[in-house]
């Protein structure tokens, strides 16, 4: 799994690609913790190139979202496809986090 971190419109966008399993889930959580420690209160995570996520990955998304909510912000997720979209829909996490079809719409929020 690779994570590219960029600043867009004053917000941090994390572009996550590849496979997210137990080991790499902790890596994403660590990266988000660093962003939060540096002052970010809302994060956009682009999953357009993520091909695999297990429940360990979901655990990280829930954990990150809770930390952001405690800071008065939120986790915005965008560009779900294939298995990743199925997993979010089955667990209904697509109704817990704000979901967007593009990075641009996630940055705008609402």
């Amino acid at each position: 799994m690779t994570i590219d971190c960029t600043q867009m419109g004053g917000k941090v966008v994390l572009h996550v690609a590849g496979r997210m399993d137990a080991e790499s889930a902790a890596h994403l959580e660590g990266q988000c913790d660093s962003c939060i420690a540096e002052g970010a209160t809302s994060l956009v995570i682009d999953l357009g190139d993520l091909s695999y996520v297990s429940s360990m990955g979901l655990r990280s998304f829930v954990g990150i979202a809770k930390k952001l909510k405690n800071k008065g912000g939120e986790l915005r997720i965008c560009r779900l496809t294939g298995l990743v979209r199925q997993v979010f829909e089955i667990t209904r996490l697509n109704q817990v986090f704000p979901m967007y079809e593009s990075v641009e719409s996630a940055l705008l929020g609402g």
Partner: protein, 138 residues
């Protein structure tokens, strides 16, 4: 003909087991999406075994067997000799809770149940035997 692989139930075994079932998935000509669903089911089932079935300081064996009955379909059994546990009777997670009350875990078995065409459990001579079918056929 069924193919089997027996390893110690620990996180380091996941890659080998995944590669093993992917071989079966290729034999069955499973589409890429179903192959990923299969990998996810294997990860969730194995993780439950190494976390809950055996003591942390004494991991035991896990035996994975697959057979390809016809193109697009595959049967898989995962067996362990840990404490008796029927995942089919586990409480379903409450998916209606909002973020603040959502537990961070408990979704693995739900995903396995959702992706399996059929899912069966039996306890036999000290073994937990969880078997499922994955199918790309209508």
């Amino acid at each position: 003909m069924p193919q089997s692989l027996t390893l110690i139930a620990k996180p380091e075994s996941l890659t080998a087991v995944t590669e093993f079932v992917r071989k079966g998935a290729r034999e069955a000509n499973l589409p890429e999406l179903h192959m990923r669903q299969l990998e996810l089911m294997i990860e969730e089932i194995l993780a439950n075994i190494w976390r809950y079935s055996y003591p942390e300081d004494a991991p035991g064996r896990v035996a994975v067997t697959y057979s390809v009955s016809r193109p697009g379909e595959m049967e898989v059994e995962v067996a362990d000799q840990g404490v008796a546990f029927d995942p089919l009777t586990a409480d379903a997670p409450d998916l209606t809770l909002d973020l603040s009350r959502r537990p961070v875990g408990g979704l693995g078995i739900l995903l396995v149940k959702s992706f399996a065409r059929s899912l069966k459990y039996r306890r036999e001579l000290g073994w937990n035997r969880l078997s499922f079918e994955i199918s790309a056929n209508p």
